[in-house]
Amino acid sequence: MKKSKDRIPSIKEIYEDIFVRPSNIAKNLSKKYGYLPYMIERYIRMLGFNEAKELLESFEKPLKPVIRTNTMLITPEELVTRLNDLGFKLEKIPWAPIAFRVVKMPKSPTIGSTHEYLKGYYYIHRDAASLVPVILLMHNYQGEVIDTCAAPGGKTTYIAQMLGNKYYVIANDLVLYRLKALISHLMRMKIKNVRVLWSDARKLPILLEKKYSRVLADVPCSGEGTIMIDPGRKTRTTLKDLAKIVRREIEILYHTIDLLEPSGILAYVTCSIAPEENEYVLNKVLEIRDDIEISSPPIKLFDWDPWLTNYLNMDFPSEFKKCIRIWPHKHRMIGFTTCLIKKV
């Protein structure tokens, strides 16, 4: 049931809620590292000055990509042997035995142009963090899954692989050229159990008749966790732009919850460390809906951080401690968050 008295806030209301005035300290740091000052102010408020500097330093260090074995076609051991023979050095991801960080590469071929890649033996992820929501959402689960913002397909192909062609994955996205990339990965990796939809995620509950036990909502975000990969993000998104993104995130989360069957679980995912795109978004949806609750991760993969329970002058539910924050300076991954939401 939805609380009819509440509604999704306007962009103006969101902007007023999330507005921060940068201090002189934030302005100085922003000059040094080349950021918009409001961003640094938020890092200081979340982490304190010293840790904020650690975060900024971690964004200056490039991150090596991670490959995930397509276990339907090859074993991790065989893949490692073949890539080692080509001059790649791979490092195990302790909590994801089928994935490896590419720590050393030969001059040729690149990791995205080996024969093994073309044969579909692996998928290249920007980082291991994106494996986390899939592992948690799919823990001890077999059945249909809908990935509402699926392109370019890293999580979809991982879910499809976990389901071993026994159940379908519904992979939806709004952007056609990104769906073209997703389809190429499905063909390359010889995946047979995906249906690719081209729709606005916000409209899916109206367009689809079925309800799902597992929903993935990896929403299009500001990318504030991926600055080490995309330094342009340091200055690309103003606070007003952020308010627009936040509004869209609230809308997507609010509507995609309607795809869940009772007791079904939705993983809300962003590659952003912004509290506005995570804690604020879910808090707003919780204010509007009374048919969801936060669910604890079924397993602990590593020592991740919890979501914030307060930020600026906003208090968030204590249940937010069940949600996951991955920080670049602490976990040596991209900034990433996920929260499991259960329909009650």
Partner: protein, 171 residues
């Protein structure tokens, strides 16, 4: 149709003529039941100049379905060719190759750059060879593309498509 990102796309049922060519090849050349491997109905998803055959498009409830299920093949110059996945499924079931050229390391590398298969690259051949053949990497016996014999002695195989298209078509 063009979307706002200026990408040409087209989806729909595979035309009867193209479906017939595909069925004939599977039944007469590979000598297996086409329905078992590609089903009764096939669909097309075209992006720019590339058209892929798969198992379902149109509507999924009220949403637009672009692609579904197995990658069955590709249409080039109005002619259909099977995907590596379908060839491999058939070869696995049969326990043997048909209309196949097994190629060594250097030949594989050249083929994946879009080049033809020369006699020096051929490790083994499986009849029939006067038709469209699957090119197989001797390293792991995976299908890496499709070719057809050319020339008077038919020992050179022209590259029709290869899995390098995943780099060329998506770069």
């Amino acid at each position: 149709m063009r979307d706002h990102n200026q990408l040409d796309y087209k989806i729909g049922k595979l035309p009867y003529r193209i479906r017939s060519i595909l069925n004939y090849y599977i039944r007469e050349i590979l000598q297996v039941n086409p329905t078992k491997y590609i089903g009764l109905e096939q669909y097309l998803a075209c992006f720019d100049k590339y058209c892929f055959i798969h198992q379902g498009s149109g509507k999924f409830d009220g949403a637009t379905l672009l692609f579904s299920g197995k990658w069955i093949g590709i249409v080039i110059g109005n002619k259909p060719y099977l995907s590596p996945l379908i060839y491999e499924e058939i070869y696995n079931d049969l326990g043997e190759f048909r209309a196949t050229i097994i190629v060594g390391e250097k030949g594989v590398k050249n083929f994946l750059y879009g080049n033809d298969i020369l006699p020096t690259s051929i490790i083994k051949e499986y009849e029939p060879l006067n038709t469209i053949v699957a090119i197989v990497d001797e390293k792991d016996y995976s299908v890496i593309g499709v070719a057809k014999p050319i020339g008077t002695n038919k020992k050179v195989y022209r590259n029709i498509y290869d899995i390098g298209l995943f780099l060329r078509a998506w770069s």
